[in-house]
């Protein structure tokens, strides 16, 4: 029998379902983005918008039916905001799933581990002391990295098993401390108070494409690195020792994944402020549907996370229209009850 005659073995239902789920998720994302560009104070016709999108995508023979003003609204205000929301949502969801994987803790997320608080402090210092917005992401990253390191050290000092409780408690401690320092810096610089405060609540700026350009490298590197580790996160789900007996350098994987997730989170936090719960809600919803393998959970987190945040932003823009609700309020409003459910079910054992 030649090698070609051996039927390709199929190992488990999850593998064979993969294309279906990815297609469904992609459909969700496209739908969300369409809703995102359609909803707003100015009424742009659905067909006109689709024609304009197709024309910009370079489909021959299609011409935008929108007026010059509507074109500007679509391409300079709504589209960048939708893209930015997508990038931020993809990053927060994927980073959350990755943190849950390396810490083997269903409640790990950029916010609970203090990454966001640290990034917040870094960004606040940058707003208060540095003139240039380009310094925001690096400052946020530095803060986030310091915070997650402290959380991890505290959590592992408290117990040899980096179990749920110790890590989350360490995170709470770190969050309180960093938030206190941040409030102090903020009060010292009352002139930036308004800017910092609205940023803390989390909102997507309508600043055209500049934020997208600022964020793209951070998110690109982070997501690529995390997706490349999806198989290793599955190995890590066996625990440190078993992963080691399978030839995996657990320390290195954990370091790379935490750095990559922190880079992405810091970038997202720098442009959009503190948008909570995305990193918990999205990965867990995905796990409920497709199972726990990171080979599926990570790519789906990218796509579904993006769609979720775009939709949340639509709600944030419309619910008190013409005023805007901070998007962090929306995600917390759906996320907190969901979090409670995760907390209840995760007692049955994440491992």
């Amino acid at each position: 029998m030649t090698a070609a005659a051996i039927p390709r073995p199929h190992l488990g239902a999850a593998r064979s379902f993969r294309p279906v789920w990815l297609l469904a998720a992609a459909g969700f994302l496209v739908g969300s983005m369409l809703v995102g560009v359609l909803v707003g104070p100015a009424n742009l016709g659905v067909l006109d918008v689709i024609r304009s999108l197709l024309a910009h995508a370079g489909v021959p023979g299609v011409h935008s039916g929108l007026s010059q003003t509507d074109e500007t609204i679509l391409w300079q205000i709504r589209a960048p905001r939708v893209v930015l929301g997508g990038l931020v949502g993809a990053t927060l969801a994927t980073a959350g799933a990755s943190y849950q994987g390396v810490f083997r803790n269903p409640l790990a997320d950029p916010y609970l581990l203090g990454v966001a608080a640290g990034a917040g402090l870094g960004a606040t210092i940058a707003v208060a002391y540095a003139p240039s917005r380009e310094l925001l992401p690096p400052a946020a990253f530095a803060g986030g990295a310091v915070a997650v390191t402290v959380t991890y050290l505290l959590g592992s000092a408290a117990g040899r098993e980096r179990s749920g409780a110790t890590l989350v408690l360490a995170g709470v401690t770190v969050v309180s401390f960093f938030t206190a320092v941040q409030t102090f810096v903020q009060q010292q610089h009352a002139d930036t108070l308004q800017q910092v405060y609205s940023w803390i609540l989390g909102s997507l700026p309508s600043s055209g494409w500049s934020d997208v350009v600022l964020l793209l490298p951070w998110v690109g590197v982070s997501l690529a690195a995390l997706l490349l580790h999806r198989r290793l996160l599955d190995v890590l789900s066996l625990g440190e020792e078993e992963a080691a007996t399978l030839g995996v350098d657990v320390g290195r994987v954990r370091l790379v994944v935490v750095v990559a997730a922190t880079v992405g989170t810091a970038g997202a936090v720098a442009v959009s402020g503190l948008i909570g719960f995305v990193g918990i809600v999205v990965p867990h919803a995905i796990r409920l549907v497709v199972g726990g393998s990171y080979r599926l959970v990570l790519p789906l987190s990218v796509v579904v996370g993006a769609g979720f945040l775009v939709l949340a932003d639509v709600v944030a823009r419309t619910v008190l229209s013409p005023a805007e609700v901070p998007i962090g309020v929306i995600t917390a409003f759906c996320g907190a009850p969901f979090f409670a459910v995760v907390l209840r079910t995760s007692r049955k054992g994440f491992r």
Partner: protein
């Protein structure tokens, strides 16, 4: 295949294993026995390269401490005492994890890996279970799944730490028979730690009795597992009936 010379392990400042020397030839099954805390598990972990050890531990002629993780994982497969059971992972995906030592750092499994995992599933009669959730398996099936994972690893050495403690008498026997078949069929070298002295004697070619981190006796089961030795090292009153270690009421 496995050669230990003067191996000592210190954990948290305490000497847990003290100058142990033993060897297991290729295709041989050697079982460590001894009371709780005698150092059996720690010795196995040292052989697997999971805890630093003094002395010399060689597998296939090379020092374990000098081998890289991946190389070591290609030589030694470990069945831990209580394997992790990841939530919502299929049996097929689980067995495929055994191919990790052959997959590049950020790569994914190739055709060979899928074929090896499939062969391991079939060898352990788990082919029909490939799509099932690991958590839905019974204790005995789960033990077969982890053996399949170890088999997919294609290592020449199998380390088993109390492989059957959680199983009933029938399942214990099935699992041990299976390990023995694999040992004969694939020429595996097996080093195990076991509590059940009767089973230890029935399956191992050589039994190593450990006490307080040291080797108290080693050799064939009849020579090592004597009424006197068991009284001394386990504090148990037993009779030996046709190779079976039977507790007696005092």
């Amino acid at each position: 295949m496995i050669d230990l010379e003067g191996v000592s392990v210190t954990l948290d400042g305490r000497r847990v294993v003290e100058s142990v020397s033993l060897a297991a030839a290729a295709g041989e099954w050697v079982t460590l026995v001894g009371a709780n805390g005698a150092g059996k598990s720690t010795l196995l972990r040292a052989v697997a390269g999971l805890v630093p050890a003094e002395g010399s531990i060689r597998v296939g002629g090379d020092e374990v401490a000098r081998l890289r993780r991946r190389e070591l994982a290609r030589r030694i497969a470990v069945v831990p005492q209580s394997p992790a059971v990841p939530r919502s992972m299929s049996v097929g995906e689980y067995v495929l994890l055994g191919r990790s030592p052959f997959v590049s750092y950020m790569g994914s499994e190739g055709r060979d890996d899928l074929t090896a995992a499939q062969a391991a599933l079939e060898r352990l009669d788990l082919a029909d279970f490939a799509g099932r959730d690991l958590t839905s398996l019974s204790g005995g099936e789960r033990q077969r799944a982890i053996l399949a994972r170890a088999l997919a690893q294609e290592a020449r050495v199998l380390l088993l730490d109390e492989p059957t403690t959680a199983l009933d008498a029938g399942r214990q026997q099935q699992v041990l028979e299976l390990v023995d078949e694999l040992r004969v069929e694939q020429g595996l070298t097996v080093l195990s730690a076991m509590h059940d002295l009767t089973l230890a004697g029935q399956y191992a070619q050589r039994v190593v009795l450990m006490a307080h981190g040291r080797v108290a006796a080693q050799g064939e089961a009849e020579a090592v597992l004597t009424v006197e030795a068991i009284a001394e090292h386990y504090g148990a009153a037993v009779r030996i009936l046709e190779g079976a270690v039977v507790p007696v009421r005092r």
